[in-house]
C-alpha cells in the first residue's frame, strides 16, 4: 500500500495542478488524499489562493450528533484551521465553534451581529454569496411544521430554508444531511418526526429541497457517519478552484449525488479492504476477533461505495474493518435501515416476516428431498 501511494505521488508530482483538466485534478484529489495533495501542491495552491477572493462558508447543524464536525476538527495535515486558511475560507457561521448566544428582549432580537448570533445569521443569509454546509437531517414533522427540530425559537426547517435559498451551493455533510441517516431509523415515531436529507431521504429523491421548492441549487452529497475530513476539504478546494463546475455537476456526481472520486461507482469498499486477502482465501470469521474477513459477521463493504479502505481514517492509519469492526455501509442511502442488524450479513437478515433466505432455502430444499423420497417409495410400491 505504501509503495502504491509512492507511485501515485510520483505520477502526480510534476503536474501543474492549476492547469490540468478537471478529470486529472479530481483523479489527483482522489488518489492522494488531503495530506499528500496539500504537501505536493501547497505552493501552487497558496499562489492560486492569493488570487482568489475569500470564500464564505455557512455551516448549519440540524438533527445530528456533531460527529462530522468532530471528524473535521480531527483532521491533520492540514488540520481544520490550516485547511480553511490555505483555502482562503471564512467560516462565517458554525454553531458548535462560535459558542452562539441570542439575546431577546420582549421576544425581539437585540444587540448586533457580534453579540447576537441570530442577527449574525440573518445578516449572512441576506448578504448571500456563501457555500452552505449542512450537517444533520432537517426535521419536517410533526405535520410539516418542522417543530421536531427547534434551534432557539426557530425551526431548523425555516433556518435551512432561508439559508439554502441564498446559498451559491450546498454541501450536505454526513449521512444525516444527505439521506437522513440515523434520524430516519425505522421506529414508531419516524413518520411524526419526518426527518429529511437535503436532496434525498433514504432512497427517495427530493428531500427537503423538493419539499421547500428549492430547485436547481447545486448540491454535493458527502455521506459518511462521520464524513471523512478529506472529502470535505478537497471538495471545497475543487469548488473554490473552479475544478468542479457548480452549474454542471452531472459528470462528477453519482446517482446518489455523491462525488464519484470519493464514492467510486466502479468499486466497493470490499475491493480494497485490508482484510480482502482473507476473503479470497475463504477465511470468513463467524465470530469477532478471529482475524479474518468480516463478511459473515455482517460486513456491508461488498455493497458500499467509498474510498474508505484506501483513504483510511485517523490520519490514514486505520479503517473500520482494519480495527475489527464490520463496515456498516454508512455512506449508502440505505443506512441504517437497510444494513441492520449490523452484525448479520445481508443474506442472513430476515426478509419476509423475519425469515431469512437461508431458512427459506433449507425448508424448500428439505421439502424437495422429502417429496422426492416419498414419490420414489410410492411409485415403487405401486409398480409392485
Amino acid at each position: 500500500m505504501a509503495s502504491e501511494k509512492l507511485n501515485m505521488i510520483e505520477q502526480f508530482k510534476n503536474l501543474d495542478i492549476l492547469k490540468v483538466d478537471r478529470r486529472t485534478f479530481l483523479k489527483a484529489v482522489a488518489a492522494l488524499g488531503a495530506t499528500s495533495f496539500v504537501s505536493l501542491y501547497g505552493n501552487q495552491l497558496a499562489a492560486a489562493m492569493s488570487e482568489i477572493t475569500e470564500t464564505k462558508v455557512l455551516w448549519l447543524h440540524g438533527a445530528e450528533c456533531t460527529g462530522c464536525t468532530i471528524s473535521a476538527l480531527n483532521a491533520s495535515s492540514p488540520d481544520f484551521v490550516d485547511a480553511l486558511s490555505r483555502l482562503n475560507v471564512s467560516l462565517a457561521f458554525h454553531e458548535t465553534l462560535l459558542a452562539p448566544q441570542g439575546i431577546f428582549v420582549d421576544g425581539e432580537l437585540v444587540g448586533n451581529s457580534e453579540l447576537n448570533v441570530e442577527i449574525l445569521l440573518d445578516e449572512l443569509v441576506k448578504a448571500g454569496g456563501y457555500i452552505l454546509v449542512v450537517e444533520g437531517a432537517i426535521g419536517n414533522g410533526p405535520d410539516g411544521t418542522g417543530k421536531i427540530n427547534m434551534i432557539g425559537t426557530h425551526t431548523f426547517k425555516d433556518i435551512y430554508s432561508k439559508a439554502a435559498k441564498n446559498a451559491d451551493a450546498i454541501i450536505a455533510l454526513g449521512t444525516c444531511a444527505t439521506y437522513g441517516g440515523v434520524t430516519v431509523t425505522d421506529s414508531a415515531t419516524k413518520r411524526y418526526c419526518d426527518f429529511m436529507g437535503v436532496n434525498q431521504t433514504e432512497q427517495r429523491r427530493g428531500g427537503m429541497n423538493a419539499h421547500l421548492g428549492i430547485r436547481d441549487k447545486p448540491v454535493i452529497n458527502l455521506p459518511g457517519c462521520p464524513a471523512h475530513p478529506d472529502w470535505l476539504f478537497l471538495t471545497m478546494a475543487a469548488v473554490i478552484l473552479g475544478r468542479i463546475d457548480l452549474n454542471d455537476l452531472s459528470g462528477v456526481l453519482d446517482r446518489e449525488g455523491r462525488l464519484k472520486v470519493f464514492y467510486p461507482p466502479t468499486h466497493t469498499i470490499h475491493d480494497n479492504c485490508p482484510r480482502r486477502g482473507f476473503y479470497d482465501r475463504g477465511v470468513l470469521d463467524v465470530r469477532f476477533a478471529e482475524g479474518g474477513c468480516l463478511w459473515k459477521v455482517g460486513c456491508k463493504a461488498p455493497y458500499a461505495h467509498g474510498d474508505c479502505a484506501l483513504r483510511k481514517k485517523n490520519s490514514g492509519t486505520s479503517v473500520c474493518m482494519q480495527a475489527g469492526g464490520p463496515c456498516i455501509a454508512c455512506v449508502e442511502p440505505i443506512y441504517p435501515n437497510g444494513v441492520m442488524p449490523y452484525y448479520v450479513e445481508t443474506e442472513s437478515a430476515g426478509i419476509l416476516f423475519g425469515i431469512n433466505i437461508g431458512t427459506v432455502a433449507a425448508l424448500t430444499i428439505g421439502a424437495a428431498v422429502v417429496a422426492a423420497g416419498v414419490h420414489a417409495v410410492r411409485r415403487v410400491n405401486k409398480e409392485k
Binding site: 461507482p265 479470497d280 475463504g282 455493497y303 455501509a329 449508502e332 443474506e347 432455502a361 430444499i365 424437495a368
Partner: protein
C-alpha cells in the same frame, strides 16, 4: 384418426445436439452451484476462492451457450422441420408451454399418485403419420422450463453486477443500467441495488438446487420415466410401447 395401439417402434426422442446440450447444461449448472456456494460460504478447504471463481466464470459462457443458443436452436430446427414458421410456433406451444391438455395430464398423474385414478396418463404423444412428436415433455417439466428460463436470465443479470459493477459491452454500460433497474426494486426489501443483486443471486442458486432435486429425483425417480435418463444422456431412444407414450396416426392440417 387417433390410434392408441402400441408398437415396438423405436424413434429418436433426443438427437445428439439435444443430448449434448442437456449434458453441458447440467454440468454447467452443477459446477456453477458448487463454485458459487464455495465462494459464498468460503469453502477454502475444498477449493480455493480463485479456482472457484475461475471455474464459475468459465461455466457462465457454457451455460449461456447451451441455454441461449443451443436450446433455441433445437426448438427452431425441430419446428422448422415440422412446417416452417407455423411449425416453429406450434412446436414451441405444444412442446414447451403448459397448456390445458398438460393440466389434464398433470391432474391425472396426481390422482394416480394418490390412488384415485388407475391410469397414469401418457404425456408423450408421438404422431406416426408425421414422424414428429406432438408433445414430449412431462407437464411439470414444462412449468420448470419456463420458470428456469426466467431464473437463468435473472441469475445472469445479477451475476453481471456482482462480477463487475462497471461491466460494459461494446461501450454500453450494462452493469450501470442494471444497477439502476435493481435500484427501482430494491427499496421494497430495504436494500440498495447491489445488495439486492447479491441477495437475489443467492436466492436463485437455492432455487436451482430445489429445482434440480424435483427435476432429477421426483420426475425421473419413477419407473415409468426412468428410461429417459438413458435416453437424454446416452442413446436418445424412445420405445413407443412405453405406457407413458401415446401413439397417434393423424394427418396434419
Amino acid at each position: 384418426m387417433s390410434n392408441v395401439q402400441k408398437t415396438k417402434l423405436v424413434v429418436e426422442r433426443y438427437n445428439w445436439v439435444e443430448r449434448w446440450t442437456h449434458t453441458f447444461h447440467a454440468i454447467a449448472m452443477l459446477v456453477l452451484i458448487f463454485t458459487g456456494l464455495a465462494i459464498y460460504f468460503g469453502w477454502g478447504q475444498l477449493i480455493s476462492y480463485h479456482n472457484a471463481r475461475l471455474l464459475h466464470m468459465f461455466m457462465v459462457p457454457v451455460l449461456l451457450a447451451t441455454n441461449w443458443i443451443l436450446v433455441p436452436y433445437g426448438i427452431l430446427s425441430h419446428g422448422w422441420q415440422e412446417g416452417g414458421v407455423k411449425g416453429i410456433v406450434k412446436h414451441f406451444y405444444y412442446n414447451y408451454l403448459f397448456n390445458i391438455e398438460d393440466y389434464r395430464r398433470l391432474k391425472g398423474m396426481v390422482l394416480n399418485f394418490f390412488g384415485r385414478q388407475k391410469e397414469y396418463p401418457p404425456y408423450t404423444v408421438y404422431n406416426k403419420a408425421t414422424g414428429h412428436y406432438k408433445t414430449k415433455l412431462h407437464p411439470l417439466f414444462k412449468i420448470f422450463i419456463v420458470v428456469e428460463g426466467m431464473a437463468i436470465f435473472l441469475i445472469v443479470i445479477t451475476g453481471i453486477v456482482i462480477y463487475a459493477v462497471d461491466w460494459s459491452f461494446i461501450g454500453i454500460p450494462i452493469a450501470e443500467w442494471l444497477l439502476i433497474i435493481f435500484g427501482w426494486i430494491s427499496p421494497i426489501l430495504n436494500m440498495n441495488g447491489l445488495q439486492f443483486a447479491r441477495w437475489l443471486h443467492l436466492a436463485l442458486t437455492y432455487f436451482f438446487i430445489a429445482e434440480l432435486i424435483c427435476h432429477a429425483f421426483i420426475l425421473q425417480f419413477s419407473s415409468k420415466n426412468f428410461m429417459y435418463w438413458r435416453s437424454i444422456f446416452v442413446d436418445g431412444k424412445e420405445y413407443l410401447d412405453s405406457p407413458i407414450v401415446q401413439v397417434t396416426d393423424e394427418e396434419e392440417h
